[in-house]
């Protein structure tokens, strides 16, 4: 998605280790058989294996302010997740940190395009609004609406990935592109989260003796059943419909209901913003806290890699994407939550 960015201002702070390994056409040997040359179109001339695509594994960091990692996982043929991380200067001279994570809906067409468009649009919207002094919660709401518009616009476009042309994804063409979105903004000692769908944000304090918390409420069948008091949590999540999402961005959505919430943590910690490819392997806030390295605040990129590794070790059944946002302790005298 870096090269998709029309503004070209997505600096790649850390080199993607897989990209570095990827052989240039005709030079380095194939990553699969180590014997064949790689043709110009990315296939090994010996074993035929497609060389890894950039999007299969993406990493990005903004100094120590925020970092994100996205991986195709071990079972899916492409990465349909996307993320955007950035910082924005606020009018008072302080810095806001933005992290957006999106998960393309596989049963719809072009889920990879949908998630990339949504993450890009939400990030751009926040980076434009926050420096103007827009209330972060309002800015988050507007960013979700902008992301929704961007995904809706895809429904009218021809596919742009060129990966298969006519007949590609033929079984999916009935549904307009769609994705989930979860975003976090850290600004002025406030933590704003916004979401649609079942991608999540968790709060994990640096002091692991204090409890971690999930900051989002899934738009999912199971969550709705529990919220309506129709089922217990265990029963609802055991149902095969549990993970069916009830809210998403895309032209097929009945109506857009962006959720936003504001938190004012009274101690330092990190915000984990992720797709279900991660949280399926660390569902409760406590589990998430246990897999999160202790030095998460100092090394967010390393921390994001560890979390993705946790999901891959667990089976990597889905694409895995996580952004890690360290949250500094509020200034003494600041209002506590």
């Amino acid at each position: 998605m870096r090269h998709d960015d029309p503004h070209g201002d997505f600096e790649l702070a850390a080199p993607d280790p897989r990209a570095a390994r990827r052989p240039a056409a005709g030079h380095a040997p194939c990553v699969a058989c180590r014997a064949g040359r790689v043709s110009a179109d990315g296939y090994c001339e010996n074993c035929g294996h497609k060389q890894p695509r950039e999007r299969d594994h993406m990493e990005q960091e903004r100094g120590r302010a925020v970092a994100a990692v996205s991986d195709r996982g071990l079972r899916h043929h492409r990465n349909e997740d996307a993320f955007a991380v950035s910082t924005a200067a606020l009018p008072d001279g302080s810095t806001a940190v933005v992290a957006i994570v999106c998960d393309g809906v596989s049963s719809a067409s072009r889920p990879d395009d949908a998630s990339a468009a949504a993450a890009r649009a939400a990030d751009a919207s926040l980076r434009a609004a926050l420096p103007l002094g827009t209330d972060p919660r309002q800015a988050m709401h507007d960013a979700i609406v902008a992301a929704s518009d961007a995904v809706n616009a895809l429904a009218d476009e021809p596919p742009g990935d060129g990966s298969g042309g006519f007949g590609h994804d033929a079984h999916r063409h009935r549904n307009a592109p769609a994705c989930t979105l979860v975003g976090a903004v850290a600004a002025h000692g406030h933590l704003v989260v916004g979401w649609v769908g079942d991608s999540r944000a968790y709060w994990v304090p640096d002091d692991r003796a204090t409890p971690a918390a999930r900051l989002t409420e899934d738009d999912s069948w199971a969550a709705q059943m529990v919220a309506a008091g129709l089922m217990g949590e265990a029963e609802a999540y055991a149902d095969e419909r549990a993970h069916a999402i009830t809210g998403w961005l895309g032209a097929d959505a009945y109506e857009l209901e962006p959720h936003t919430a504001v938190f004012r943590p009274d101690r330092p910690g990190v915000v984990v913003v992720c797709t279900d490819g991660l949280w399926n392997y660390a569902e409760s806030a406590g589990d998430m806290a246990r897999v999160l390295p202790a030095d998460a605040a100092e090394h967010p990129l390393h921390c994001a890699r560890v979390l993705v590794g946790h999901a891959l070790d667990g089976g990597g059944h889905d694409n895995v994407t996580v952004a890690v946002v360290p949250f500094a302790a509020p200034e003494p005298g600041a209002v506590s939550a």
Partner: protein
């Protein structure tokens, strides 16, 4: 999908239709490859008036100066060499065996048909007529040469046809070998034969015909026609199959002239000779089959010639403005979920007459992608499904007719019933019509049929000869994404 051809030759397009998704452990990849050639300056089979043929706008760039020079050296008849016919040589093989005498109109129709074919030759095309019996004789022009089509040579050739008298046996292999000698001597780029027979190949052993076909394969293309009903379908279709031409029955000799005219128009439209379908497959892969599936089924699997590491060429003959479909099946070593592999690189190649590297006219990719998404891996591409059905249709007709001949009425009913069902379901109305002359259709949808008690030889032979003809997928049902 890709279009790499130079502007100086017909543009070849290669499109691949497949479901690239495989389940975990899946290894069999199917694809239908549509190859189209357009813009080569051919007329789609309609001969142009002489004036138009000489217009500079009609001058086809398909044959370069090299072809021109070669031809000029060949027989010194370069004066007529302007137009797409240049560089083409045709040998007409006419059965003159004793059986052509009865009914007496048969020889006359064969003469008329050959004359009509000669009239359809473009000016400048080199041609010869071979009179075929138990041996082959040059009926026109003789001396191991070919004539150059023009007003004078056409008249001479037709005069020579009038002198053809039936008498003797039938040894088709000898006709083909003579045609091969004549065509090879011509030096023409596009070398084509037309063979007309009315009887069985009785005066040479089957292995002699086989050996002649093996010797001629890849050296010229040949259409074959059986006239009347006393010939062997397998012999005529065997000639066309081996030499990448068409086969048909002309049960009523009166229909020969029209058929020969059409056939020759088609031959005159050919512009690019000796095109091969080149398949590259990855290490460990196995090509299960390669079939032409439109306009007719032709299994090419056994005709591979190696063409470098992991690549092989399958002959497709010569091309004019036309489109053909190929169904290929490749077995690849399964890779892990999420992995993508190139199962085959399909290209159209033309050898360089000067002996250099072959020219790639077009290319397409057949991919394999392993996924846990069962909705993706279980869906069957509509083109693949359609041609799987068309190939089965040809197969069950041949089996059904074989069963009928051998007295296995139960087997014949079952297979021809299945054929009726497949023909109806796929919209192959021509084949459905031919089937209805051999069986009484009770219910096409379920394939319920009764064998007709009496079937005309011509109807049975027509069905057998045309059993491999296919129809294309009705693409109006297929939505572009």
């Amino acid at each position: 999908m890709a279009n790499f051809s130079k502007s100086s030759v017909p543009r070849f397009s290669v499109e691949v239709y497949q479901n690239e998704y495989l389940p975990e452990g899946g290894s069999e990849v199917h694809a239908v490859v549509t190859v189209g050639a357009t813009g080569g300056g051919t007329t789609g089979g309609v001969p142009l008036p002489a004036a138009a043929r000489r217009s500079p706008h009609r001058r086809s760039p398909a044959q370069g100066d090299a072809a021109h020079d070669q031809r000029a050296q060949g027989d010194g008849a370069a004066d007529a060499a302007d137009g797409p016919g240049r560089g083409t040589a045709v040998v007409l093989m006419v059965d003159c065996s004793g059986s052509m005498e009865y009914p007496p109109t048969k020889m006359r129709h064969a003469r008329d048909a050959t004359a009509a074919a000669i009239d359809t030759l473009r000016d400048g095309v080199r041609f010869a007529v071979v009179a075929g019996t138990h041996l082959a004789r040059e009926a026109y022009p003789g001396g191991g040469r070919l004539a150059t089509a023009g007003a004078r040579t056409r008249a001479e050739a037709k005069e020579a046809l009038r002198r053809l008298a039936p008498g003797g046996g039938t040894a088709i292999g000898t006709w083909l070998r003579l045609a091969d000698r004549l065509l090879a001597a011509s030096g023409a780029a596009i070398r084509h034969g037309v063979l007309l027979t009315d009887g069985r190949n009785e005066h040479e052993a089957p292995q002699d015909l086989r050996a002649a076909l093996d010797a001629c394969a890849g050296r010229f293309t040949c259409d074959a026609r059986g006239v009347g009903t006393d010939w062997e379908v397998a012999e005529v279709t065997g000639v066309a199959s081996a030499l990448l031409g068409t086969a048909d029955i002309v049960a009523d000799p009166a229909g020969l002239s029209a058929d020969f005219t059409r056939m020759m128009e088609h031959a005159m439209g050919k512009e690019v000779p000796d095109v091969a379908l080149r398949l590259w497959t990855p290490v460990g892969a196995e090509i299960v089959f390669v079939k032409q599936v439109a306009p007719a089924v032709e299994d090419l699997t056994g005709r591979r010639t190696e063409a470098g590491p992991r690549a092989g060429d399958y002959p497709t003959g010569s091309w004019g403005d036309e489109s053909r479909d190929y169904h290929l099946c490749v077995r690849v070593p399964p890779a892990g979920l999420g992995q993508e592999m190139l199962a085959a690189r399909v290209s159209l190649v033309r050898p360089d007459p000067a002996g250099g590297l072959p020219e790639t006219l077009g290319q397409g990719l057949v991919r394999a992608v392993w996924t846990a998404d069962t909705a993706a891996s279980t869906s069957i591409n509509p083109q693949v499904a359609h041609y799987t059905g068309q190939a089965e249709l040809a197969h069950v007709i041949q089996e059904g007719l074989e069963a009928r001949k051998s007295g296995d009425l139960y087997g014949a009913t079952a297979r021809l019933g299945r054929a009726v069902q497949l023909a109806a379901a796929s919209g192959n109305t021509d084949t459905a019509k031919l089937l209805s002359k051999v069986v009484d259709v009770v219910d096409a949808a379920t394939g319920t049929v009764r064998l007709k008690a009496k079937v005309a030889d011509a109807d049975e032979m027509t069905l057998e000869t045309r059993s491999t003809k296919t129809v294309r997928v009705n693409r109006t049902h297929m939505k572009k994404p």
